[in-house]
């Protein structure tokens, strides 16, 4: 096997004393897409930002993050700001989660996209070329009137349009690694399909490895090869998307799937009203994590052992790892 494009090894991130990411390990090969799912606040964005060297207020407190690009491998964990800068945009592209605050309110969209093109597209020499390219990029994301969009300020655009502007910027270069932090939340189903196709095409044509952070299992299964499930800063399950979504081995993953909004799966509550099933409780606040399995307090199948030892990630099938003491039981009885 060739060197993966990105490989996190025992990667940890802390904010002061609180640990936001705890010994995460995952790899993404060239052209592969890994979906990162998990409870909100579980550290997905933190993982993305620290890989970009853009974390604020926190630091990488352990492990390595190896990025391979153009035959060279660098450890992002100890990289200087200067070397990071050379990587950003060109080798690692990122789509941020909140498109309103992530765009400069005082700059027209055209100028903001143009910046990327100037930096990363040596083939475009004139402003005219770049403007055309910017419009083409926006057009590809499904924006109806790219010219108007280019001469607008962010506040004049709808949420979905801003998100697509972010996407267009990330797609303007040919990064070895694309990090997409919930890129389709503000998009309607049709547009979402279009964006997913774009990302997929980029992966296929240019071998871009993609870290695709999402809550949308539909999107995940449409685009990802594999999926990793994060909970309270720990990785609970990781494997090929079909395996994990088809036959989840961790109670948390199961719970997630059961929470999907679906009239058929709704159940009556105490008052006899139809409600989504979901999972009771909330994820532990950082710093208040239990000693054993982080999911134990909410786990419907919790045992005493779960409260005591922290289960390690272990392979249950080829390429499918689970951090659950009772993982094997779930294979037989879903």
């Amino acid at each position: 096997m060739t060197q993966p494009a990105l490989s996190l090894e025992d990667f940890s991130v802390s904010f002061g004393e609180t640990v936001a990411l705890e010994r995460i390990s995952l790899t993404i090969a060239r052209g592969e897409t890994l979906a990162l799912v998990g409870e909100s606040g579980s550290g997905k964005s933190v993982a993305a930002l620290s890989t970009m060297g853009l974390l604020r207020g926190g630091r990488i407190s352990g492990g390595r993050a190896l990025l391979t690009t153009g035959g060279r491998t660098v450890d992002l964990a100890g990289l200087s700001e200067k070397s990071f800068r050379a990587l950003r945009g060109r080798d690692i592209g990122m789509i941020f989660q909140e498109p309103m605050s992530a765009l400069n309110p005082a700059m027209k969209i055209g100028a903001q996209i143009n910046e990327c093109l100037v930096l990363h597209r040596d083939d475009l020499n004139t402003g005219e070329d770049r403007r055309r390219e910017a419009a083409a990029l926006l057009g590809r994301t499904g924006i109806a009137d790219p010219e108007r969009c280019l001469s607008s300020y962010p506040h004049q655009l709808s949420g979905g349009m801003r998100q697509r502007v972010m996407i267009a910027m990330a797609l303007s270069a040919t990064p070895a690694l694309l990090i997409a932090d919930e890129p389709t939340t503000a998009l309607d189903a049709g547009t979402r399909g279009r964006i997913l196709a774009l990302i997929r095409a980029m992966a296929a044509e240019r071998g871009t490895a993609t870290l695709f952070i999402t809550h949308d299992f539909g999107a995940a299964s449409a685009i990802a090869d594999r999926v990793a499930v994060l909970y309270a800063g720990r990785m609970l399950e990781e494997g090929p998307i079909a395996d994990v979504l088809g036959a989840p081995r961790h109670p948390y993953t199961k719970g997630l799937l059961a929470s999907l909004p679906n009239r058929a799966s709704m159940a009556p509550d105490a008052h006899g009203r139809l409600r989504l099933r979901g999972m009771a409780g909330a994820a532990p606040a950082p710093g208040e994590k239990p000693d054993g399995c982080v999911f134990a307090p909410r786990c419907p199948a919790v045992q005493t052992a779960c409260m005591e030892t922290q289960p390690a990630l272990r392979g249950v099938e080829v390429g499918h790892d689970v951090a659950c003491l009772r993982a094997d039981e779930w294979a037989v009885a879903p």
Binding site: F15, G16, G57, M100, H155
Partner: protein, 278 residues
């Protein structure tokens, strides 16, 4: 596992340390200095004027043979009062007015700003003279004149900051929540506009003392023999070239006061900001 040693207090925020020390010293000196040093800051010795610094007069003597150090210590209270009064008046009037103008309907905004611009455009000298003629001379009136002159700066600054913040989504959100304008202005916009206002306020604390000095020649400033720093400094300049000390030491004192105040302000804000942001 070995925990890192707790950092020395102030090692991360030297501003705060410097500011606290300077301001602390100043307050202590203002409170107890006169008592400790004794002596009469107004006692003259016309036969020994402009004595260079020596053991008996560490900062030398002035054009009346008075001990400069003694006068500096006695003048500290005045200085503190000057800065406090003019800042409270200037910022206290200017900031609320500016905030309101920023939220007000366009015509009212224009009206307020025009009046404030016109006041500011009045040359300070004339404004100060008008104050004398209207209110009579005296240090307090001088301070009012200085404050009046700097009110418009705060108005405009606060107003422009408000205008730029009032279109932000979170201010809209507050409107939807039914928050009153006053609440939005004073509880939300003000803290977010505080930094530039604070910069303006702390930096101008130095100019306050200096303006007080330049007004004293209009008969507006402190009246002799009050040991007002600015006046001491500007009187001292007349001997520059023959004796440097009557001008130098008050100048240093003013600079130290301003630096202390600024450092304290900056440090406190940093600490506040970082502790609440984490």
């Amino acid at each position: 596992m070995l925990r890192r040693l707790p950092a020395l207090p102030g090692a991360k925020e030297p501003e705060l340390l410097i500011g606290a020390v300077l301001c602390g010293v100043a307050v202590l000196a203002a409170l107890f200095g006169p008592m400790l040093l004794g002596g009469d800051p107004a006692a003259q010795d016309l036969f020994h004027v402009l004595q260079p610094p020596s053991w008996s007069h560490p900062c030398g003597t002035d054009a009346f043979g008075r001990d400069i150090l003694l006068r500096l210590v006695y003048g500290l209270r005045l200085t503190i009062m000057e800065i406090a009064v003019s800042l409270v008046v200037a910022a206290g009037v200017g900031v609320p007015v500016g905030l309101c103008a920023g939220m007000a309907p366009a015509w009212l905004d224009s009206a307020i700003m025009t009046v404030s611009d016109v006041v500011f455009a009045f040359p300070g000298l004339i404004l100060a003279l008008l104050v004398v003629s209207l209110m009579g001379p005296g240090l307090f009136h001088a301070l009012l004149a200085i404050a009046a002159f700097s009110i418009p700066v705060y108005i405009r600054l606060a107003r422009n900051l408000t205008v730029s913040l009032r279109h932000s989504v979170w201010v809209e959100a507050l409107q939807v929540l039914g928050a009153s304008r006053a609440r939005i202005l004073f509880l939300h916009i003000l803290p977010n506009a505080a930094t530039p206002l604070l910069v303006q306020a702390t930096l101008s604390s130095g100019t306050v003392v200096l303006s007080a000095a330049s007004l004293s020649f209009l008969g507006l400033g402190a009246q002799p023999p009050l040991p007002e720093w600015g006046t001491m400094m500007s009187d001292g300049r007349n001997a520059l070239g023959a004796a440097f000390w009557p001008c130098l030491f008050p100048g240093l004192a003013i600079a130290a006061a301003v630096i202390g105040l600024n450092c304290l302000g900056d440090g406190l804000r940093d600490r506040f900001d970082s502790s609440s942001r984490r």
